[in-house]
């Protein structure tokens, strides 16, 4: 690796961040972002995710160490020059009632236009392209306050896109979004990544991040760990990160289990069809594990209505016509 970090878009060297020198949030941070890489920053609330992202791109001063942008210290950049290399999307949803989507997106050209902000044909074409990219072209003349959270977030991302930077940094872009919108947004970011941009974003959503990030930064107990999602999984980090919070992380499936304790083991019988997998979900939710030697036996059979579940335990048996009834029985039995 080149020592000056020119191979990286961003390289952090012994960076320490926080708002007061006596109370550094994180110290001795050494991290890198390569070209065309998507990095997900994971950490619990208050661990310094936003502070790290903002310090990294020079929006707030760091407490020590060095942050290099394309090999040069971030503090040496003239602001417009920096704005042509890094764009930022904040976690706050901007409330700007009287700006149209197109006007907001066009603001991304600020670092390129002259003192009167005149946009030429290429600027305008780029704005249209960005609107199309985030599927807001038909909403271009709508005011920002007439959009849903997801659409507004996409408008802010389109604005970052027309800033035409090698690196895009997003602070919790999916925080206010429902699941379909979250996936849309991540897919959009992945497309930007495939187009050669580097993306760094912070999130609580470990599952989605594991499926799309090239690299993860995980903040845990005052330290920050870096690696491919699978590397971090292999090291047992996630199990450690989430154990303290009462959430069990199933290393085999990569899923979270919200019930901390195991209530029993179930031997599940039946065809491996949709009913089977939904039954597995229900049992996991209730805190039962699957085991071929399980103390409870559960079988699934198709019935007139839909399905019938038959449960046998200690010689007695009982049938249920819905998973809800089964679940009620299991939870009352404990």
């Amino acid at each position: 690796m080149d020592r000056t970090g020119k191979d990286h878009i961003i390289s952090l060297e012994k960076l320490s961040i926080g708002y007061q020198p006596a109370f550094a949030l994180l110290e001795e941070i050494n991290l890198t972002v390569g070209p065309g890489e998507m990095v997900a920053l994971i950490g619990r609330n208050g661990t310094g995710k936003s502070t790290l992202l903002k310090s990294m791109i020079g929006l707030i001063p760091s407490l020590g160490g060095l942050c290099r942008l394309e090999g040069r210290s971030i503090t040496q950049f003239d602001l417009p020059a920096r704005a042509r290399l890094v764009s930022f999307v904040s976690s706050q949803i901007a409330q700007l009632p009287s700006l149209t989507v197109r006007e907001v997106v066009a603001l991304g050209r600020l670092p390129y236009t002259g003192w009167m902000g005149r946009m030429d044909r290429t600027d305008l074409a780029l704005v249209d392209q960005a609107l199309e990219e985030v599927q807001l072209l038909s909403f271009a003349d709508r005011k920002l306050d007439r959009l849903s959270d997801g659409e507004r977030q996409r408008a802010m991302i389109a604005r970052a896109f027309v800033q035409d930077t090698r690196l895009m940094v997003l602070d919790e872009p999916t925080a206010f979004l429902d699941i379909p919108n979250t996936f849309d947004l991540i897919r959009l970011l992945s497309r930007f990544r495939d187009g050669g941009k580097s993306i760094v974003y912070s999130t609580h959503d470990l599952e989605t991040a594991m499926q799309c990030a090239d690299k993860m930064w995980v903040i845990h107990e005052g330290k920050i760990l870096e690696g491919a999602p699978e590397d971090l999984g292999l090291s047992g980090l996630f199990d450690e990160v989430f154990r303290s919070s009462g959430i069990n992380y199933d290393e085999h499936s990569g899923k979270f289990l919200f019930k901390g304790i195991c209530l029993g083991s179930v031997r599940l019988e039946g065809k491996k069809d949709r009913a089977f997998s939904w039954t597995v979900n229900a049992l996991e939710r209730l805190g039962y594990s699957l085991d071929s030697q399980g103390e409870i036996q559960l079988s699934i059979k198709p019935s007139d209505a839909a399905y019938q579940w038959t449960l046998e335990k200690n010689g007695s048996s009982k049938s249920f016509t819905s998973l809800y009834k089964l679940a009620r029985f299991l939870t009352q039995g404990k």
Partner: protein, 338 residues
């Protein structure tokens, strides 16, 4: 971010309206001078009497020029403050500029009250110094405090504090001095003459040009300071320039004319409503033009056409501004926002 034909059309109509109001205002007064007579005088026809010339050049034209300067300057301050603080209720005086000016004026009028009549000059200079002191304090504070909302709160607290001190001074002052001060605080466009007017023009015109050149930066600020910084705007420098221009504009106007209420807050909202745009490259010149229209209109109203009385301009601008803002807020709730 194109200018758009709607904006151009409204801009032309405003310009036309301004000319019409200007000419109407020029005719008003106890001595009747018709437009025909003025045109005739200028084109070498029948001359006006010396008295009429004096009235025009020493009184009416300076008063109109003052109205134009105040009308352009105060709403621009309001627009800048509303955008910087992202607060629709911000106006030229939120930073305590007018309190500073009033304090300066109060020191002179109430302090020297016993000595007799105070010259307009010393009053204006004292008010200017007062506004300038507040500005320097503000720049110092804004250099030390990063959070812009804290500055807003400090400004409001500071002006309330000064108002309290002024009321104590009023309480202990003589009746005649008190009356001069109260009259100053009611505002007047008619006290600015000759060299004062040229000082005012030289102080205000270049600063207005600077604010025009800052339109692009104000657009960037609409997303908040963090976004602005991420888009290459130098926040500290911008803030200092906005505070300095606002202080010079509002301070100068207040020093020479006394505090003039409400047009600073109301005009930017009228402009947003009329132009339906948020682009400061349109808002800024439109605010100047609309401000001049409203100010000349206020001057016409203040002269109570048909009578010899002149109302205090501060009261007139408020009485015109308040219903407009109420109407905008009720008709179009978005006028509350930026």
């Amino acid at each position: 971010m194109r200018i758009g034909s709607r904006s151009v059309a409204i801009m032309y109509s405003m310009g036309l309206l301004l000319i019409v109001l200007f000419l109407i205002d020029l005719r008003l007064g106890s001595i009747r001078i018709s437009l025909g007579e003025i045109v005739g005088h200028l084109w070498g026809g029948e001359k006006l009497s010396d008295q009429q010339v004096v009235i025009l050049t020493k009184f009416r034209l300076p008063r109109l020029a003052t109205a134009l300067l105040a009308g352009a300057a105060l709403p621009v301050c309001g627009l800048q403050m509303q955008t910087l603080f992202r607060n629709p209720l911000a106006g030229p005086y939120v930073l305590g500029i007018s309190s500073g000016a009033s304090f300066g004026a109060a020191l002179v009028v109430l302090g020297a009250g016993a000595a007799g009549i105070v010259a307009t000059w010393s009053l204006a200079i004292a008010a200017w110094i007062g506004a300038g002191t507040v500005m320097l304090l503000l720049l110092f504070v804004s250099y030390r405090i990063k959070e812009v909302m804290t500055i807003l709160i400090l400004g409001i607290m500071f002006s309330s504090g000064l108002a309290a001190v002024i009321s104590i001074m009023q309480y202990f002052s003589e009746a005649s001095a008190l009356k001069s001060f109260v009259i100053w605080s009611m505002g007047s466009l008619g006290n600015v003459t000759g060299s004062q007017l040229s000082i005012m023009t030289w102080a205000i015109t270049p600063v207005l040009l600077v604010t025009l050149g800052y339109s692009k930066v104000l657009n960037g600020l609409m997303l908040g300071e963090e976004y602005a910084a991420s888009m290459g705007i130098r926040i500290e420098r911008t803030r200092i320039i906005i505070f300095a221009t606002t202080s010079i504009l509002a301070g100068t106007i207040t020093a020479f004319c006394g505090p003039i209420g409400f047009i600073g807050i109301a005009v930017p909202h009228m402009v947003r409503f009329l132009f339906r745009r948020s682009d400061h490259r349109i808002l800024m010149p439109a605010t100047m033009l609309t401000g001049m229209v409203v100010m000349v209109l206020s001057d016409i109203v203040s002269q109570l056409p048909g009578t010899e009385r002149i109302l205090p301009i501060n009261a007139v601008t408020s009485l015109i501004g308040i219903p407009v803002v109420i109407w905008l807020v009720i008709m179009n709730r978005k006028a509350q926002s930026l």
